[in-house]
């Protein structure tokens, strides 16, 4: 038995979808049992099927359906135009932002805005957590490589300082960012002439070892885990370790909605949710090693 249901969040779609696909997906999300929805482009500034106004329209729709909307921001910022767009997001007052680079923290704190520190912000200890709390952090999305023992000595401080802790429980994990676009490279194109080929793959491109074992998933300049992190069966352990928010990172649109439903249904009875992989259309391999302080790609239990 568990004492209270955690909040469920949906991370920004890490892949590049068409405007129609985003709209259709977020219309379904609007009526799905999820508490917090992160939206926006976090990987590549060349992905512009959605303009800021389009995202804000989605934000309004989700808010009207009772979701807390968070505007996610770009992770690897290089060009001045990217800083300009970030500035617009991090200085506005209507929605909370997810900072995925310290540049976003800098702009948000200059504007006295609070922010969510995304998983690409390196908070590994209490002193860093406290400093960012003082600068306006209201929620901490734990870096993907930290596990339960790493979190244990930090829960108390986070609770005392009212910093919510969010941990990824489902989806491929963001593992690296590069100047290079690996999707373009695979298609033998340069990033500057990429033809936006990442639009062709709803969930990025699987890379296997030469023996056919999963290695990584390439998604533009981002490299993800090939396996899908899955801590649904560790829900009790997560709650005992002070996790306030269970984060789902989108996979395919249809499977993402199904996973939200399964987790939420599970918590209705205040029991640990059961995960039923056969109800998903995709053929996923799962891992949960980071939570258990071992190789992220491994699966315990």
């Amino acid at each position: 038995m568990i004492n209270s249901k955690p909040k469920i969040s949906l991370a920004a779609v890490p892949y590049f979808w068409s405007k129609e696909s985003y709209l259709s997906f977020y219309h379904q999300v609007a009526s799905a049992p999820v508490d917090i929805v992160y939206i926006g482009e976090t990987v590549c500034s060349k992905r512009r099927s959605m303009k800021l106004a389009d995202w804000l329209a989605i934000a309004e729709l989700l808010s009207a359906n009772g979701k807390q909307v968070v505007l996610s921001t770009l992770t690897l910022l290089e060009a001045e135009s990217e800083l300009g767009y970030l500035s617009k997001l991090a200085s506005q007052k209507n929605y909370l932002i997810e900072a995925n680079d310290v540049a976003a923290i800098q702009i948000a704190s200059e504007n006295k805005n609070s922010f969510v520190a995304g998983s690409a912000i390196n908070i590994y200890n209490n002193r860093s957590l406290m400093r960012l709390k003082e600068l306006g952090m209201s929620r901490w999305v734990v870096p993907v490589e930290l596990g339960c023992d790493d979190l244990s000595p930090m829960i108390q401080l986070a609770a005392r300082e009212s910093v919510e802790i969010e941990y990824q429980v489902f989806g491929r994990m963001p593992l690296a960012y590069s100047a290079r676009c690996f999707t373009a490279r695979h298609h033998q194109l340069t990033k500057d002439q990429c033809q936006l080929r990442c639009l062709e793959d709803e969930q990025g491109i699987l890379v296997n070892t030469q023996e056919g074992e999963g290695f990584v998933q390439i998604n533009g300049i981002q490299t993800q885990s090939s396996k899908v992190s899955n801590l649904i069966h560790q829900s009790l352990s997560l709650l005992n370790h002070g996790i306030d928010i269970f984060r789902i990172v989108p996979v395919s649109a249809v499977d993402t909605i199904e996973v939200i439903q399964q987790i939420s249904d599970g918590f209705l009875t205040l029991a640990e949710p059961l995960f039923e992989p056969n109800k998903l259309l995709g053929d996923y391999q799962y891992c949960n090693g980071y939570w258990f302080q071992i190789e992220g790609m491994n699966q315990v239990g």
Binding site: A79, R127, S178
Partner: protein
């Protein structure tokens, strides 16, 4: 433009100083630095000796404490900071916000260089570290184009240091967890990438296979140059084609664009390679001293022969200027 050279041990430090480095950078013998390899790095006694040797020859000694302490091990990082500062290190190279704050709690103005592991790639990120911790210099990740570096140098609140030569990290440093995904140990937590303890070589049907924690990284035919299985530089299968999906086993060499880096106002060139031998440090330091003097003192470009001469020292025996040139991206 300063030349900053790697010293994985005392012998390398001597070679770097004698070869004309303006500064050498070192690490302590623990996971507080990003080259936490067996047999590498400095004891207290070696640090004292090294600082004496370098200072007598007007060379500075930086110490990298640039990994991310997890709370349970926090004190190892603070005592390493204490150790380095008390021994008379000139500058600390740091990535973690908590560690920077700890240094500032000890001293309001001790020189801090922002490590490449902090992944600051833009003006606002630099502003953040400058305003919060008064960083003197930032080492830029190997992800920016030359034009972007030049643009950043115009407005940066602090000095900029860029990588000139050595192993090429193709990911934004400090934000790459591929190594812990596959082995449980990463640059951020343990100061290692693709750690040697997980590497295995096997002969299979006349081919040499390199593995990392049992995952096949690459397979070499006879006569092929078999490099260390750094996980991002292997050959993998994607849509039934076997390719270097992320990067080839190649090294960075920016000697060809030194004049541009110099006129952009870059304060220092960093040579990677604390894990390399004293003989390597000697050769590379001397070549770069000559190249920088040629560009800065004589306003000339470096000859192609000198540039390609370095390739033999490089991993994979091939070099690139990497992300500085947009076509690489």
């Amino acid at each position: 433009m300063d030349l900053v050279c790697p010293a994985g041990n005392y012998q390398s430090l001597i070679k770097a100083v004698d070869g004309g480095a303006d500064a050498v950078y070192i690490g302590l013998r623990n996971e507080t630095n990003a080259r936490h390899f067996a047999g590498l790095n400095f004891t207290d006694k070696q640090i004292t000796k090294g600082i004496d040797y370098a200072h007598q020859r007007k060379c500075k000694v930086y110490c990298a404490i640039n990994t991310y302490p997890r709370e349970a091990h926090w004190q190892r990082w603070t005592s390493s900071v204490d150790q380095a500062m008390d021994l008379g290190i000139d500058t600390l190279i740091v990535a973690d916000i908590g560690v920077m704050e700890y240094i500032r709690s000890r001293s309001a103005d001790f020189p801090i260089h922002l490590s490449v592991q902090a992944s600051a790639t833009n003006l606002q990120a630099l502003n953040f570290y400058y305003q919060n911790f008064g960083i003197l210099r930032a080492v830029l990740p190997r992800v920016l184009s030359l034009r972007q570096v030049a643009q950043l140098a115009k407005t940066a609140p602090c000095e900029l240091e860029v990588f000139g030569f050595g192993s090429l990290c193709i990911m934004a440093e400090g934000r790459c967890y591929l190594s812990s995904y596959m082995t449980g140990e990463s640059p951020n937590t343990m100061g290692v990438c693709s750690p040697a303890a997980y590497v295995d070589w096997q002969e299979q049907d006349g081919k040499l296979e390199s593995r990392l924690n049992n995952l096949l990284i690459d397979r070499f035919s006879e006569g092929e140059n078999a490099g260390y299985p750094t996980l991002c530089k292997g050959r993998f299968e994607v849509n039934s084609s076997v390719e270097h999906v992320l990067e080839e086993p190649t090294s960075l060499n920016t000697m060809g664009i030194l004049p541009e880096l110099n006129s952009a106002g870059v304060a220092a060139i960093k040579i990677e390679g604390r894990q390399r031998s004293p003989a390597y440090v000697n050769q590379v330091t001397r070549a770069w001293r000559k190249a920088i003097d040629r560009v800065v003192l004589h306003g000339k470009r470096v000859g192609l022969e000198e540039i390609s001469g370095l390739a033999n020292l490089a991993e994979g025996k091939q070099t690139t200027i990497g992300a500085y040139e947009r076509s690489w991206q």
